[in-house]
């Protein structure tokens, strides 16, 4: 990548991706609880001022309604970027996601689809979130054909993956590790770019055992790999799965001789 980069943390990388999307796609809209003022994690700061209140707007407190409504927007061909304020609150929308969004194209024989729907949601533990501000629900969605589920590990990955989700012609759920919103910082390109979905990344080569992780845990696993090398002389391959569904079986299972 040769373009200009800027130091960004995870939430800034998300804002950048959303900014790029709304700039090049005039049908793109962002909605969810409290997104208008910038969002409870500042992911949508400045977007309403820049793109107007009919493109960045708040919804009432109704997750099932938010997703159902998002499916509707997407079915007409507009790009719908819905936010569920915490992944812990996604369950009222589970029926809409699994029974409506995932099956729309299939059941209409490709006459209709809600592929331009992307659901973003803060995800994962922070230490003080307890039962309802810490959950990682990707496993519930991992067996639902028709949707895609993506979890980035860093700002650079997040922007590229989110842009791919938004442009992907299937409904996508994008979980953002909230503990990394401020903590993870790196140089991220200002212009849009894509990181392909359903492609795992081997972030460290190794020969004895394969460790697979996603999101925040990738960083833990990287440390584990170092410790294993140092203390046990074990050479670990570390893979970031990135897309949970459909997942990259080939990269994970590839025989390395």
């Amino acid at each position: 990548f040769t373009g200009q980069t800027q130091k960004m943390n995870l939430f800034q990388a998300i804002t950048s991706a959303l900014d790029n999307s709304l700039a090049k796609d005039p049908t793109a809209v962002i909605f969810g609880e409290d997104v208008a003022f910038g969002g409870v994690f500042r992911c949508t700061v400045g977007l309403r001022d820049k793109y107007g209140k009919d493109r960045v707007f708040n919804t009432p407190l109704c997750e099932q309604g938010i997703v159902g409504f998002g499916i509707g927007i997407a079915v007409t061909g507009a790009t719908a970027i819905a936010e569920i304020q915490f992944a812990d609150y996604i369950y009222p929308a589970f029926d809409q996601i699994v029974n409506e969004a995932a099956k729309y194209r299939y059941r209409s024989g490709d006459l209709f689809n809600c592929g331009s729907l992307t659901i973003r949601s803060p995800w994962g533990c922070v230490g003080h979130g307890a039962l309802y501000h810490s959950q990682s629900p990707e496993a519930f969605f991992a067996h639902c054909p028709g949707i895609k589920v993506v979890v980035p590990r860093s700002p650079f990955q997040a922007k590229g993956l989110l842009l791919s989700c938004i442009e992907d012609k299937n409904p996508c759920i994008f979980f953002e590790p909230k503990i990394l919103y401020r903590a993870a910082v790196e140089q991220v390109p200002v212009e849009p770019y894509n990181i392909p979905l359903s492609q795992a990344e081997v972030i460290q080569e190794g020969s004895d055992v394969t460790l697979v992780a996603w999101g925040t845990q990738v960083h833990v696993i990287r440390e584990v790999a170092s410790m294993a090398q140092e203390k046990l002389g074990v050479s670990c391959e570390v893979i970031d799965l990135r897309t949970i569904l459909p997942w990259d079986v080939d990269t994970v299972c590839k025989v390395r001789l």
Binding site: E33, D34, F37, N58, P60, L61, C62, Q64, G65, D88, Y89, Y91, P92, H128, G129, A130, L131, Y132, H133
Partner: protein, 389 residues
């Protein structure tokens, strides 16, 4: 405001006065007084709660003490949170004391109550001690949920919490009401939610079931004007929350007046106990703190607004003025109660700070009800907890 002085007992029997009160009574306090209360707006109801009510000295002193206790307990929680002795989430209800105290005054201890996460006041009025509540906030063994629940997960007899996902507790409340009807003991269930949660779909599902099956369920919307940082006008197509039950009769109540809340609750409970089915109450109230301890509460409302409510509608002040002006109590006497309450809170805070945390082995308990105990994986596969129930 017209006030008449009564002598003798309150509504019905003569109260038995403990010795200290007899001493004070010799200073010629009235035993009760009649007050005018705001008329409730009605929906699908011919008549509403009475517009005057009798307050006995004893009841007044009790409500005052309870409201003051909730107030000081919440302020102490604020302090402990800023000292990082309370961690995690903490949603305070100071400003809304008339709601929990007024409701409790309108029902029996055998009735049932369920609410969402702004629950410390209800935990107290439903019978738990300040000690147990503060120790739960600080996550210690002496806490009412053994230190594992925290601010949002407190429970007591006939008090079903303490729930994190807003709106989810409302169908639960309808279910409790069904059990009340089934058990035939004339009990009712108070099912609370806020102005933000009022737009959740499952609440309307609960309205329909409760009305269809004539459940003794009092739906109560505690409208404090803001769902987190979103004002009611920006969240709801209709801010007449007391009408949102549509086919369910409703009343809109002044939630800053403990007597208004009491009378409305009594009225609603009588409606349910008479087998007329569910009823909906909207309490118009206000919280001084932000949504939680991480919200300063001034980015979506002005300090002037908060100050105005504090100076004109503070529930404790309203009760105090009424009692003093109608000779139900003296300023000094109420100040003494303040001092006693402060001490009680201080002692409870000491306990909550000194009590040990629950032992780590208990972390996995009570996941299932099971025999024999099973192993639970911790943060990694070599950390194991035993789950026992």
């Amino acid at each position: 405001m017209e006030v008449s002085r009564g002598s003798g007992g309150g509504s019905g029997c003569a109260p038995v006065l403990p010795a200290s009160r007899v001493l004070v009574a010799s200073r010629n306090f009235a035993n009760d007084a009649t007050f005018e209360i705001k008329k409730c707006d009605l929906h699908r109801l011919e008549e509403g709660p009475p517009v005057t009510t009798v307050l006995t000295r004893e009841d007044g002193l009790r409500y005052y003490r309870m409201m003051q206790t909730v107030r000081r307990m919440e302020l102490k929680a604020d302090q402990l949170y800023k000292q990082k002795i309370i961690r995690g989430f903490c949603h305070l209800c100071d400003g809304q004391e008339a709601c929990c105290v007024g409701m409790e005054a309108g029902i029996n201890p055998t009735d049932h109550l369920i609410t969402a996460y702004r629950a410390h006041g209800f935990t107290f009025t439903r019978g738990l001690s300040v000690r147990e509540i503060l120790a739960e906030l600080t996550g210690r063994r002496g806490g009412c949920a053994k230190g594992k629940g925290g601010s949002m997960h407190m429970y007591a007899k006939n008090f079903y919490g303490g729930n994190g996902i807003v709106g989810a507790q409302v169908p639960l409340g309808a279910g409790i009401a069904l059990a009340c009807k089934y058990n035939g003991k004339d009990e009712v269930c108070l099912t609370l939610y806020g102005d933000g949660a009022a737009n959740q779909g499952q609440i309307f599902e609960a309205y329909n079931m409760a009305a269809l099956w004539k459940l003794p369920c009092i739906f109560i919307c505690e409208n404090n004007r803001y769902g987190m940082g979103t004002s009611v006008e920006r969240a709801a197509a209709s801010t007449d929350y007391y009408k949102r039950g549509d086919f369910i009769p409703g009343l809109r109540v002044d939630g800053m007046d403990v007597l208004c809340v009491r009378e409305a609750t009594k009225f609603a409970a009588a409606h349910c106990r008479a087998g007329k089915g569910p009823i909906l109450m909207e309490l118009q109230t206000y919280r001084y703190h932000g949504h939680s301890m991480s919200d300063p509460g001034v980015s979506y409302r002005t300090r002037e607004e908060i100050q105005e409510v504090r100076s004109k509608s503070d529930p404790i002040m309203l009760l105090k003025d009424r009692m003093v002006n109608s000779n139900l109590a003296s300023v000094e006497e109420l100040k003494e109660i303040d001092v006693e309450v402060r001490k009680e809170i201080e002692d409870a805070a000491q306990f909550a700070t000194a009590d040990p945390e629950p032992p780590l082995e208990e972390l996995g308990y009570h996941i299932y009800s099971n025999e024999p105990p099973f192993e639970v994986r911790g943060a990694n596969q070599w950390i194991k907890f035993k789950s026992i129930s």
